[in-house]
């Protein structure tokens, strides 16, 4: 993975930078010794590692502003970081850059039940938001599987989802406001406890911007009253086609389940061996459909979905009788990643989205690729919204396997785009899918996105080397203003 060439002059100035940064963030907030830096050398995309030049852990928005303004003046790159659970390398450090860790922003500032919002600092974990409001029967809807560890700031940067985003939306649909700091130190508020932006929806692009547009220092999120009842159906199918047809028919019947998850044969077997959830092992696909709402609604919809599954020839169907059984149904799905981790030394978790009606075709072609690349693949799948998570199993200690796994992953994502889908449904582009962006977007599409980056960060110092396969050329875009419609894109240098 190539990153922007490190600037030797910045690296040589490390001591000076540390001194200056300690004036802004005193005490333990600036880390510079090797052992401490090692803790930050990667996020959850562990195949790529790089020790940062310095780690800064600010505690106030003023400190964030001053650190960024200082780095802006001195031309020092900055990589924001939450909990480091990104699966796309969004928080991968740079040899000549500081990591701006937001871990100390860990307070829930306010819960306003009357207006159904919570105001939190970005280092608060996703689950902690729900825990702060659960006592009154509320919760925060986006629920990434990493929710005990990942932070609200990271969720905003990645526009994270979870199994329940089919019905309740991604982070961006549950975010009402942010306070953020631009690379030049400007502190800005977008949104708040109210709905809609006064002018352009700038928060709409900040969410999902993977730390490239600004550093979020506070978030206002919507909290919801928890549903009265949740029940799940566990449905086995003799073929992936039948499972896919069932999902489509459920939606065509006007039912949007709270969650609709699918696993393929490999994932079912790995999960069952690990947690003994009671999954049927003689099926090709397993569907978990969760219905929530008042008792009457759930009972009604369980019957509707069950009838549809039966009509489509399911091999087995079981509705959870009680909360313990519902959790058991989920146990295997929730443990799918570690379960695969047990049967393979390493794995990559891919994250493309496809139109759901192409699912059988995509899974079949993925099997063919698996044979071609000589690597196993297991699939867990947010079936309701077409978001695939193929897990590619490999062994980094075997020469060439990492490269083969990367190539396999790229081929899967290209397939997703080919059938009308996208490279990433919830994990972000980061460095992992950076060089594939041109598969999905044309040069002018990418140029327009990069121009947006220039509006927020003309210096290009905030999280460079992520998302885009080339650096932003803000100065060149600037010159275009004079030339009007003449600008075309010359060959740009790749990383």
């Amino acid at each position: 993975m190539r990153m922007p060439a490190p600037d030797g002059r910045t690296i040589a100035r490390r001591g000076e930078l540390v001194t200056a940064l300690r004036k802004i963030v005193p005490g333990e907030g600036v880390k510079a010794d090797d052992a401490e830096l090692a803790a930050y050398e990667c996020d959850a995309l562990t195949a790529y590692r790089q020790k940062p030049l310095i780690v800064v852990l600010p505690e106030t928005v003023e400190q964030v502003s001053q650190v960024l303004a200082y780095c802006h003046r001195e031309g020092v790159k900055v990589v924001p970081r939450g909990a480091g659970t990104s699966l796309s390398g969004g928080a991968l450090p740079l040899a000549d850059g500081i990591v701006l860790g937001m871990a100390k922003f860990n307070r829930v500032l306010e819960v306003d039940y009357g207006n159904r919002v919570a105001v939190v600092q970005p280092g608060v974990t996703n689950l902690a938001v729900t825990q702060a409001v659960a006592g009154r029967g509320f919760y925060y809807a986006p629920d990434p599987s990493s929710q005990i560890a990942c932070t609200v700031g990271g969720n905003i940067a990645e526009n994270s989802g979870g199994v329940h985003c089919l019905k309740y939306g991604m982070t961006s649909n549950n975010l009402l406001g942010v306070e953020m700091v631009l690379m030049d130190g400007t502190i800005l508020r977008l949104g708040g406890k109210h709905l809609d932006a006064p002018g352009l929806d700038l928060m709409g692009v900040v969410c999902g911007s993977e730390g490239l547009l600004g550093v979020v220092t506070e978030a206002t999120v919507r909290i919801l009253r928890a549903p009265e009842t949740q029940r799940a159906l566990l449905i086995g199918f003799p073929s992936v086609e039948q499972a896919g047809a069932t999902v489509a028919a459920v939606i065509a019947a006007g039912v949007i389940p709270a969650a609709m998850e699918m696993m393929d044969r490999a994932a079912i077997h790995a999960a069952e061996a690990f947690v003994h959830a009671g999954y049927p092992l003689d099926v090709e696909a397993l569907l978990i459909a969760e219905l929530d709402g008042p008792e009457a609604e759930v009972a009604h919809l369980i019957a509707v979905v069950e009838a549809i599954a039966t009509k489509h020839g399911c091999a087995s169907v079981r509705a959870s009788a009680d909360e313990a059984e519902r959790l058991r149904f989920w146990a295997g799905r929730k443990a799918a990643f570690p379960a695969v981790g047990r049967i393979s030394p390493d794995y990559f978790c891919m994250d493309g989205t496809i139109p759901r009606n192409r699912l059988p075709e995509v899974l079949n072609r993925m099997q063919a690729m698996s044979a071609e690349f000589g690597l196993r693949v297991a699939n867990v799948f947010h079936a309701g919204d077409g978001n695939l998570h193929p897990l590619i199993l490999y062994d980094a200690d075997k020469p060439g396997e990492l490269e083969r796994a990367e190539a396999f992953g790229a081929a899967i994502l290209e397939l997703c785009v080919e059938v009308g889908g996208v490279l990433t449904g919830e994990h972000g582009v980061g460095i992992e899918k950076r060089d594939l962006m041109e598969v999905q977007f044309g040069p002018e599409d990418l140029a327009q996105q990069q121009r947006l980056k220039c509006a927020f960060d003309e210096s290009g110092l905030l999280n460079p080397g992520k998302v885009f396969p080339t650096l932003c050329r803000c100065a060149e875009y600037g010159r275009v203003h004079v030339k009007g419609g003449q600008f075309r894109f010359p060959e740009l240098e790749r990383f």
Partner: protein, 398 residues
Amino acid sequence: MAEVQTAWTAQEAAEVIRAAAAAGEALELVGQGTKRGFGRPVAADTVLDLSGLAGIVRYEPEELVLTLKPGTPMAEVDALLAEGGQMLAFEPPDLGPLFGQPTGQGTIGGAILCGRGGPRRLSAGAPRDHCLGVKAVNGLGDAYAGGGRVVKNVTGFDLPKLIAGSFGTLGAVTELTVKVLPAPETSVTLRLEGLSVEAAVTAMAEAMGTPAQVSAAAFLPAELSAGASQTLLRLEGFGPSVAARAAHLRATLAGQPFAADLGPEETRAVWKTVADAAPFANAGAVLWRLSVPPSHGPLGARLAARLGGRYLLDWAGGGIWLELPPAPDAHAGVVRSALHAAVGHDGHATLVRAPEGARAAVDPFDGAGSPLETLTARVKAQFDPGGVLNPGRMYAGA
């Protein structure tokens, strides 16, 4: 009278824009023009009529996506979705009548680009939450695409969100992909009669805090509802569920002055009135829309009383329609200072309708003069460096 150029294809739109950029001229982009009175007046030499870029490109009900050209009439979109048992969940209001246009006009492009959601905005989101993909031509005449055609996508910056609500200032939109959702099987509206505005806002907050999934909540004061004020709570979904949730709400709000429920037909009618701010249509008066935390809804009543106007509350109190008598500054000073004194940075006021003079004199959107406007201007410059596309529609400097 400005010259009108019509684009029937994306290609033609790009050519007109490129020529305007080269000549240093500005364009006013219009669909059917129903909301032309919204925002600042655009000083343009030429009108670029995009209403010919119309038609359904692809409707895939089971994928929950609809791709179409922006000039497609809303009436056609609604009819198509109704056939598939689906809807645009953000409940687009028909704002045309507020500007003296007939009802039922307007295009999907206009609905998305003005960024307004109706009563269900409260529970299901705004156009920005349902805008999945966009193709547009920037101010240099270059076509760009953002987003995609699937419901879950985080690849690259979320340009569709930015384009929704941008009033044509960031591109001439040539294609849209929107998320569609199943239309509810049935609906009912519970009514509380005769509450004060304060009591209504409290009751709506209580209702929203139950698991009853209230999809919309509004308050019509007595002067708008022939005698007694109406507090309206809408429930939608499957029959057995709606019945159970209605019972739950009645139990939770026991002791409140419940009046007879409204069935599905009456429910449709009353919420259309709220969505379109129908009581304030076809009038020369000034019209504001305030967005506040719902608990601040009574601010609408105070401002109406103080300035001699009328109001209604949508979004459980968070969306205030405020109609005021004409004034040179459309009462912007009073409205905005009262708003920000009450809510600080948690809210904003939008001038939706005003006589021409006031429209040019007052910033219709909050944020003018703040770091927000500076950033907005920088964003605008990156999409439209020459200021070709609807210059000044949102802010004087952008």
